[in-house]
Amino acid sequence: MLRFEQVWFRRAEFSLSIDGSILGPGITAVIGPSGAGKSTLISLIAGFEVPTAGQIYWGESPITMMPPDQRPVSVIFQDHNLFPHLNAVTNVALGLSPCANPNDTSREAARSALSIVGLEKLGASLPGELSGGQQSRVALARALVTKKPLILLDEAFSALGPALRTEMLNLLKSVLAERTVLLVTHNPEDALQVSQQTLFLEGGRVWSAIGTDELFARPHKHLKAYLDKGD
């Protein structure tokens, strides 16, 4: 369980406050208009930003001041997920041994993670030789090998076409079923498709996560405005 205790973040004109918890395992969608603070939320959880006040807990242990790599967190970004000059196996293996020459054990683990995401034959390919969907799969494989319990996806699939995105979301659901997943997306349909619960952000304010079906069945006025207007 990820828990926020009166977390407040302020940078220049922007501020974000969040209190409450996100239950796992399972997928929680994070939706809201641009500039609402979705990426800031991810940065706070991943450790790229430090809150101005408050504490973030994973279970019972505070993670607020931990460096990113020591948190129980694995992140998949929108772009620059893979080092372009390293092949798929090495990119994935870096998740286990983040050093200049990943060892054979981690390469072996990388190969099996790649086969879980359906890329067993493409381990030697460079990212540039892979399609957008395949690149996302490599990034997902790296999240798998890390064995971290919390996975953050920051608009990870937003560059993919609709069919491919659906395919990736289904893959996500099947391979990450046992972990807690936060899926930031600007497509509310993504939330409906895969998430048990949804978190709605607007103007630095976070509405507590509730069941996705419930949320969309009776949207409050802010969500309604967002859904009607689009982004």
């Binding site: 940065s43 991943a46 450790g47 790229f48 930003e49 430090v50 001041m65 931990m66 460096p67 990113p68 790599d69 020591q70 967190v73 694995s74 992140v75 970004f77 620059h80 997920n81 080092f83 000059h85 390293l86 870096l94 998740g95 983040p98 050093c99 200049a100 790296r142 890390t146």
Partner: protein, 521 residues
């Protein structure tokens, strides 16, 4: 930008250590100079003459270079011809050219026994001499005309192509275009070019050493050298060094912001499509200017080649020994500059808010010319041990520090971009500092690092500054050896050795610049 708990790692901490120690070395040598140069020790009239000459020759050199560069840059901007790219690349070459080689070439063309005087004599004209003011200015124009041209050409390229289209659709003639499009650009670019070249011309010790001298053509730096080497007057040398620092501090901060981009920009290979200047006469003038400039720049080098190539295999052993010393200096200098540059850039990229501070630390050597830094180190070392014992290490170090500002301006943006793209990914998977350096930074800045390595090697290979302050008679580097051969009128050997130096400088540059791009990391 991430501002979270990012660790610097051992590489970043090393970089911070350099960001502190590099300015410390520079300040220490300035402090040493100040402590020796007691107030009221007084300057002779000769010292004031040196100051006046320094400013006068730099002004003349900068004005002539910039004025000649305008028509050349304009011709290159509006003409598209086969080999245009080669000509523009050639304009970057004098920066790497060892001063002694260029001066040897200029003497072969314009000197007492040169081509020009031979022509003049056949027509019964008085021979001209290029020692003194003429020679210093000529050499400075030779080195800085290309620099000024690249500068101004860049200004021309930055005028949006749409404006020329607009001008064409309005039916503007050459004069109108000149007034409305080109003159506003020149008004901005020319003063910058002037300041940069002026600054360069106050610190070209080697030019003054070979072509200047005497009461009427001694620069401040040459006066420093003379009082240190011949009069053993540390006080006077220190006072003159302070004078030189004064000149540089005035110019340095204006100069550094403009200099590096002009040298390093690779975006000049695109001619602007223009609808004016299509007349026959204007075309002929443009091509005439281009051919004339190429001739002026290539003639001296060609003369060196013609005179030197046949002699290269029969050079005496002392020349080969000095070549060996120069290669050691060049390689050490390159290793030093990369060893400082990479950790400093790493630290700056990881700490974006402190990067300005880190970069300024590296830029400090702009304010203190190599010769002045050398003087300072001489003053520091002199009481402890014989300075000549450290001639080669000091030459390598001072040249590395002189290259550091260019290096930082070129490599730092690449490091920062790499950090912006991959920094968070690396943080989240916890890449070790070494892996981060290898996968993120080096991978993304191979080109820049190769260029800087080449530059450092070529510049220190051709150095004829600091080495003259320190070296013993029997252990010269190659440029110093050539200088001595010229002094002894052994011109054929000097020509052969010049070709050797030329080939090694450009060879090292090419090897490192091109080699780095092909390295698989």
């Amino acid at each position: 930008m991430a501002s979270g708990p990012q660790s610097l790692g051992w590489i970043g901490r090393t970089g911070i250590a350099f960001a502190v120690s590099v300015p410390t070395i520079i300040l220490l040598s300035v402090a040493a100079i100040i402590s020796v140069a007691e107030a009221g020790s007084g300057l002779t009239s000769g010292d004031w003459a040196a100051l006046r000459f320094t400013i006068w020759q730099a002004t003349l050199s900068a004005v002539i270079s910039v004025l000649l560069a305008v028509p050349l840059a304009r011709a290159l901007a509006r003409r598209n011809f086969v080999g245009r790219g080669v000509v523009i690349t050639l304009l970057g070459a004098p920066f790497l050219l060892p001063v002694i080689v260029a001066v040897f070439g200029l003497l072969a063309v314009f000197g007492r026994n040169g081509v020009l005087n031979a022509v003049l004599e056949t027509f019964a004209f008085e021979p001209i001499s290029i020692f003194g003011l003429h020679g210093v200015v000529l050499a400075h124009v030779f080195f800085n005309l290309p620099l000024a041209t690249r500068f101004i050409l860049q200004g021309w390229q930055e005028i949006p192509a749409e404006r020329f289209r607009l001008a064409a659709s309005l039916g503007m003639d050459t004069q109108a275009i000149n007034r409305h499009l080109e003159w506003p650009m020149l008004k901005k670019v020319l003063p910058c070019a002037f300041v940069v070249i002026f600054a360069v011309c106050t610190t070209t010790f080697a030019v003054a050493l070979i072509l200047g001298g005497g009461p009427r053509a001694t620069t401040v730096e040459l006066a420093i050298y003379q009082s240190l080497r011949f009069e053993f007057d540390l006080r006077r040398a220190a006072f003159l060094a302070l004078m030189q620092i004064g000149i540089m501090v005035l110019l340095a901060f204006i100069a550094h912001r403009i200099l590096a981009p002009a040298l390093l920009s690779h975006r000049m290979d695109r001619p602007v499509i223009r609808w004016d200047g299509r007349g026959f006469a204007i075309r002929m003038i443009d091509y005439g200017v281009i051919v004339g400039a190429i001739g002026f720049l290539l003639m001296p080098i060609t003369m060196v080649m013609i005179q030197g190539l046949p002699k290269i295999l029969s050079l005496p052993a002392v020349v080969w020994e000095s070549l060996f010393r120069s290669l050691i200096v060049a390689v050490s200098s390159t290793i030093i500059v990369l060893g400082i540059l990479i950790p400093m850039s790493y630290a700056a990229a990881r700490r974006p808010r402190q990067s300005v501070w880190i970069e300024s630390a590296g830029l400090m050597s702009f304010a203190v010319s190599s010769l002045v830094l050398g003087t300072g180190l001489f003053v520091v070392i002199n009481p402890i041990m014989r300075p000549d014992m450290l001639a080669l290490p000091i030459t390598a170090l001072v040249n590395a520090l002189a290259t550091l500002p260019f290096a930082l301006r070129s490599v730092l943006p690449a490091f920062c971009q790499a950090e912006a793209d991959y920094g968070r990914l690396a943080d989240s998977i916890g890449l070790t500092p070494w892996a981060r350096l290898k996968f993120i930074f080096l991978q993304r800045s191979k080109r820049e690092i190769g260029f800087i390595a080449g530059l450092a090697a070529a510049l220190s290979m051709g150095d004829l500054g600091v080495i003259t302050l320190f070296a013993l008679p029997d252990t010269p580097t190659l440029p110093l050896q050539i200088y001595r051969l010229m002094g002894a009128y052994r011109m054929q050997e000097a020509a052969g050795a010049s070709v050797l130096l030329l080939l090694c400088s450009f060879g090292l540059f090419w090897l490192l610049d091109q080699g780095a791009r092909r390295v698989e990391i």
